[in-house]
Assembly symmetry: C2
Homo-oligomer: 498 residues x 2
């Protein structure tokens, strides 16, 4: 990701004072910077109860054909802009949830508008290829100027997929094929007749009882293989058959980190030992360890670079693959393009999966041996979607042009400092504030979390939770200091309503 990281930020310094409605005292301190979206609202505006009357009526209609019990808000995407999401009743909320952390460069980003209306987008939308068989003549160029330009250091190959779950599952498949290939003695060793026969019946030895090791509270998706590695909440897993795969404990760190250095290091050591023990002892041999840099759905659980270095070293030592799930952390949100860039690993992960802010999905890898030994072992009709690859390329261009990774690092530090001040003022509402130095990937626990989230819209903020007690911030990469100011004010308003 060298080219993106080298690009200097284009944060402008021209003074700008938000207009609109009356502002509290903190507003006077509001950082002066030029907005990426000059036409964005200067502040949220809320004119009805949320959901308002139009939203309610439209929801009832949608409910006839589509499950609306998870519905948060029917959205008017045409009038959403930058960091602001609009509902059907004309309310405009500062959006720090961003479609579950998946909008990277703002609603109705003008550069993406251009990409979306380009001739190559139109042809890719209407002539969807079976990518493994009939890629377009410019597929190599699209990959090299897009998805692969963002590839993590050391990983120069990609398998494209559709969303996080199948990105993870295809990575698991690659791991299993690689593991068995090593056991067989190399790519040239042929399958046995017994393997060929037994796999047709889902039985050993052709369908081996291998496993992926994941962590407690992890979230890696909801299809059958990925769900077997997901350990976030029972409601995600109940009633669905699962593979007998092992889970290790993810460290539970104490905050603030600087006051618990020794304890936290011990906790991480304990977890690493458990990983190594499971790899060595689990009855279904482990082909790969799967981990999120920051457990996101599971409650924003962090670990130190030392922990991940330890994982890399253990997996090397035990000859197990190391897969990093960057579906939620990837593409800039932690102040680095990839969250694992924070770790200084001794060698790159074997595979890194991506989706969400990439607006497409897949996994990166570097070792050619992770290409299965024969064609059609890792294959499907579409193998992703070139139109979404074009969007990702546009996102990368916009990140480079505006220096958005750097912006997120700087804004994140600014926001974190503001939250520290709030946590000192309202200690009863802030526990385990975390994400320092991790861009805007910030969270804290609060006893009245669900009430907090429910009140947020009334003060003009769209905000999400994670785990059972965390408020999680997932603003876009175009979230700036003046947005942070509004968010901090809004949080204080919510706290006063609790």
């Amino acid at each position: 990701m060298a080219s993106v990281l080298r690009c200097s930020p284009k944060l402008r310094t021209a003074a700008r004072v938000p207009a609109a409605r009356a502002l509290s005292t903190t507003a006077r301190l509001r950082a002066a910077e030029k907005p990426y979206f000059p036409d964005e609202p200067t502040a949220p505006s809320v004119s009805t109860a949320i959901p308002g009357p139009k939203n309610k009526a439209a929801t009832a209609e949608l409910n006839e054909v589509f499950d609306v019990r998870s519905l948060n808000m029917l959205t008017d995407y045409n009038s959403s802009i930058g960091n602001y999401i609009s509902d059907l009743d004309g309310n405009k909320l500062l959006d720090v949830y961003a479609q579950i952390a998946s909008i990277p460069v703002g609603y109705n980003n003008p550069h993406l508008q251009k990409v979306a209306s380009s001739p190559e987008m139109i042809t890719s939308l209407i002539n969807r290829p079976a990518l493994g068989n009939f890629p377009s003549a410019d597929w190599s160029h699209i990959l090299k100027t897009g998805i692969l330009k963002a590839a993590p250091k050391g990983l120069d190959q990609v398998f494209t997929a559709m969303a996080g779950s199948d990105a993870n599952e295809t990575a698991y498949k690659a791991a299993f094929m690689y593991h068995r290939q090593q056991q067989r003695g190399g790519p040239e060793v042929e399958f046995t007749e017994e393997e060929l026969q037994s796999t047709m019946n889902n039985q050993l030895p052709g369908s081996p009882q291998l496993s992926i090791l994941s962590f407690k509270s992890a979230f890696h998706g909801r299809l059958f293989g990925s769900l077997s590695t997901t350990r976030s909440k029972a409601i995600h897993k109940l009633d669905i058959p699962a593979f007998d795969w092992p889970q290790a404990t993810f460290p539970t760190l104490k905050y603030p980190l600087e006051d618990h250095v020794q304890e936290n290091a011990q906790e991480e050591q304990r977890c690493l030992q458990e990983v190594e023990r499971l790899i060595k002892e689990y009855h279904n041999p482990v082909a790969a360890v799967m981990v999120e840099p920051i457990q996101s759905e599971g409650g924003d659980n962090h670990a130190s670079p030392a922990f991940f270095q330890g994982l890399r070293d253990i997996t090397k030592r035990t000859n197990v693959l190391f897969i990093v799930d960057e579906v939620q952390t990837g593409v800039g949100a932690t102040g680095k393009f990839w969250a694992h860039d924070h770790w200084n690993l001794s060698s790159p992960p074997d595979m890194v999966t991506f989706s969400k802010k990439a607006q497409t999905a897949g996994y990166y890898f570097g070792n050619p041996a992770l290409r299965p030994n024969k064609p059609y072992r890792q294959f499907n009709t579409w193998m992703g979607d070139p139109s979404r690859a074009l969007i990702f390329r546009g996102i990368i261009e916009e990140i480079e042009r505006l220096g958005l990774v750097e912006n997120t690092r700087i804004t994140g530090d600014y926001l974190y400092a503001g939250l520290e001040r709030l946590s000192q003022k309202y200690p009863q509402h802030f526990q385990n504030l975390r994400g320092k130095g991790q861009g805007t990937f910030i969270a804290w626990d609060t006893p009245k979390r669900d009430e907090f989230l429910a009140k947020a819209k009334s003060v003009g903020v769209n905000i999400g939770g994670s785990g059972v007690s965390a408020v999680r911030l997932r603003p876009m990469l175009v979230f700036q200091k003046h947005h942070a100011d509004i968010l901090l004010e809004s949080i204080e308003k919510i706290l006063k309503l609790l």
Copy 2:
């Protein structure tokens, strides 16, 4: 699908004689009809060996970053049109493979071009929603005028997905949740503490050892759950852990069908008995039976309506769900909008999955009890892609406008008759010609299948196989009689090369 089926075909009768290169005698018999794509080539043109020099060079470049061992042909989508696919060296082939049966209304279809450049397409591309949380205000309208307009009779709900594999897996999840809900005694019965605990460890009773019954030679996808029901080829399954789920025998019919009525009926009865026995006896209880109307990847294996009626009746009787995988058969290719429309079932399937020619994916269902009892049990970030839902709507509009289901039925009958003539002339090259009355969904076995496929491009046809010995035809819905004439001529040319 009433509205689509009612629409009368717009096949025009104006005379038209193909120009271009010298034509064989059959060309004189060529059906006179107005083409849907007036600018289509009148015949294939091949000016280099395939792959040609440009193709070879570009393939080598792509190989640096992307697995090209399954590559068939680098494609120039800009100059592909209608039924003709162009390669990088300017060769134009009549395409009866159509991106593994997934292009419905022709390359660069003008109506889809309009849809793809519409303002609502642009907003849906650049503001991708988390559909379960923040659907656009017009999502209900898009569903009702698109995906649900095509819904099979009796199924008025949809869960949207990304591709065939996850469409099938989310249908399986719905089946498992429904099965356990019935066992518990209804949607209002709460999970036990033991279930909540055990599922976090992938263990019983929270993660039950239930199964999906599928058929030998079936193909339902390549993710972990779908792959456990796929039984097409060992290479699809080797080294990947699989669930211990049962497979029943799919009927092996003898052709021509009219000469083997009694035997085939007995064969189907035998298979139905096996299904019933497996449902009653398999050690991992069966929650659903999954079946393709025509086994496609597995070799174009057909069964009669009586067989599928039998499956519907058995599943009703044994209280097991009946899921029909219309990923490859759906959207018109068999001369009905859905292949299961051929069956006259006593009651609709419980779920029908779709992808490929729909250019989006998901599953239809009718019973509200198939919505899980609580939200967030069937959920993921994107839950499909509205931009692809807009394309499907455009496809449905085009099918209606041109009467393409009817066209496919008529052209299919015409093509089948031509193939029957060829099979009488070249009996050594035609075994088990099948797909009569099934639109253009036609196949036959041939001893030199792989040679046949390899020679096809040299005579200007892009054609695919299925199973180990079948040539499978999967033209688009805009395939007309004059294309059928060219295809028949081309097949004869290939046979002369063998």
